[in-house]
Symmetry: C2
């Protein structure tokens, strides 16, 4: 948090408390965007879509240009709340649109929190109205804090890149620590670019950044009805980025980096996590196989508990690989942990050393390297271990 | 255990200790079968197959009639042990075949325990030789105890059915408490029928019994390299069962019942389990969808931890249904727990009562009823909750 956070011209943030689930903690965030902004949003793949997600999709499909606003609340997901849930989100969006003198479809709602409880709509509306009086271009840390639920700390990444004579700022923040899996789980993420980029390029940039970040992490294989990711270009005329230009590629690369770093921050703060584990599957037949094996290992409770116990239990890793449906034989499989050899040709590596393996496992960052030796494709997944605290958090808290 | 256990004519059991992983506890079991016996064996779907499984498959593909013997050891899985592992299992099978005056292919090995450690072959051979001196038709409880690893208690089911003037005895025992999922996970199961049944009928009976028992339970979604299930008919001439006869159907039904009860005993003793949870998916489009939804919910860590915490968190159940790939919409989904309504038409049921739901969740046996209302097919899966003890057991013990 000590690093410099770069403001994004025209983007303003305001926070306030709804005085509901979290007492007086600020849990409501209003973000206003300049008239020129382009917005790309991607939402959960779960068929259980929260009311705000349904409304956001609807508004985005029809939104005309003009100043836009994001309304984000933590504490109540407004998911599986039926017609009343839709009424509620529409009602506060309409009130804020009126207050900001916007068309209704230019206000995009995001929610995170408990599923299936009625949203205390007046409380959140009051909070958003108050947030509107506190708008500032500098409120990044407050904003990153306002969207948290079971997270233990805010996640912000901010970078600048210089291309030719111009310097571009990109700043983003995210939340999420359980229910994390591809289709980017209970995740809310907002990234802003100080540049003018057309919507098609922005969408492409967004999709590519998601594939190697929020779609390549898993905590427990569960996804949420509220997952949302927004990538915004403020439309700064002075910083026009041409389609297919070198500048665009460099910015896309930088955006990818920010998404990846935000994803890493999520995993580091995953519910009950004591370790950050990267599962790298290489020399696979194709991307589908590499992904399938990586997620099978990443979501194996036996692998995850062994990681928590710092046990170099390569048998469980090999066994998880062996049960993956895309695997025909384990004869060529090679496994290493932090470069220490464990398995070769589907059996214990002749160079295996319990002492070395054990030392490798005690680290906080674990790289499990699974080399299938049947093809050329690789894929990496980031995950966390499965601890007693994960069970405690999730058996105790209706979230 | 107080119930009567029926011996199976010609089947003898002997146990002894290898004095290895479990100290002096008996961990080695020899079962001898009469010359007339027919055997049906099914093994793990995991591509990582333990050496004894590979040898058993090989022997069964070529076995000629004659007395058969099962050699079962607990404590060492002899999996991922390479050529030496195969040498080891062959060497003790050969020695026992010679001792019993059998062809080598008539001895079938089964192992359960740690993956990837060299099997102390001389210790287990000594134990099997000792077990051979202690053979008795009555040793069912000793046998059921000898095959345990992390299980806390033996699992035996014994029944008799009378068809016409004849009474048929069927007795079986099993082990397994983690790594349990379809393809019948770290499971060893041995069921014996006092009847003459041909091999084809026996195989069919076996497959059908597996589908509604060991292939319909899951603890953690992990499978093992050693899963094996044996169904044996002793070939008693006095109790001939004709193919496609009514008697055969009744016996098949009874065998199914025994497999189901053994499966329930496994779930009741699952690692760290505090509850037995049945997930019933009904009115699905087809069997594939019913199975997929049932296993997605049964293996959701967020559902399993909510069950452990006795939290009627229907949002997590609905969300797990919503992320299943076979589900197109959740609009028709209805959910109940022990007949208490939770969800109707994809939203909270108007009849929902927190007090009633909470009372229902406190029970030790939970029935989660998921009615998809789009078709006619149903499927049930049995599972356990996810507790702190599951994490403790699996982060602590290299099994």
């Amino acid at each position: 948090m000590a690093k410099k956070i770069h403001n994004i011209e025209g983007v303003q943030l305001g926070t306030a408390s709804s005085h509901t689930r979290y007492g007086d903690k600020e849990d409501s965030l209003l973000i206003t965007l300049p008239k020129t902004a382009q917005v790309s949003c991607k939402f959960t793949g779960n068929k259980l879509k929260a009311a705000p997600v349904q409304l956001a999709i609807n508004n985005l499909s029809s939104y005309s240009s003009g100043v836009k606003a994001f309304l984000i609340n933590a504490g109540n997901a407004n998911a599986a709340t039926g017609q009343q849930g839709m009424k509620n989100v529409k009602s506060y969006c309409k009130a804020i649109a009126s207050e900001l003198n916007l068309k209704e479809e230019n206000v995009i709602p995001f929610s995170t929190g408990v599923i299936g409880e009625a949203l205390p709509v007046n409380n959140y509306l009051s909070a958003f109205l108050e947030a509107n009086t506190k708008l500032s271009p500098k409120n990044w840390v407050k904003a990153a804090n306002a969207i948290l639920t079971t997270d233990t700390r805010p996640k912000i990444i901010s970078k600048q890149i210089t291309i030719g004579k111009q310097t571009f700022s990109i700043t983003g923040f995210a939340k999420g620590s359980g229910m994390i899996r591809p289709d980017f789980a209970t995740l809310l993420s907002f990234v802003f670019i100080d540049a003018k980029i057309n919507r098609r390029s922005l969408n492409k940039m967004h999709a590519e950044a998601l594939d190697c970040s929020f779609n390549a992490i898993t905590v427990d294989g569960d996804t949420s009805p509220n997952d949302s990711s927004a990538l915004v270009a403020n439309g700064n005329e002075a910083k026009l980025v041409e389609t297919n230009s070198k500048a665009e590629k460099k910015i896309a690369q930088c955006v990818k980096g920010i998404f990846k770093e935000l994803a890493e921050l999520l995993i580091e703060d995953a519910e009950g996590a004591t370790k950050k584990i990267k599962i790298s599957v290489s020399k696979a037949n194709n991307l589908q196989q590499a992904k399938s094996v990586a997620f099978t290992v990443a979501e194996s409770p036996l692998v995850k508990t062994a990681m928590f116990g710092s046990d170099a239990n390569w048998g469980r890793i090999l066994s998880a690989v062996g049960r993956d449906r895309t695997i025909k034989t384990i004869e060529n499989v090679q496994i290493k942990v932090n470069d220490v050899p464990l398995v070769k040709k589907g059996n214990i590596d002749p160079k295996y050393s319990e002492a070395k393996a054990s030392r490798a496992m005690k680290k906080k960052e674990i790289l499990i390297q699974i080399i299938l030796n049947t093809g050329k494709t690789e894929f990496e997944v980031l995950t966390s271990d499965l601890s007693e605290d994960y069970v405690l958090i999730n058996s105790d808290y209706r979230s």
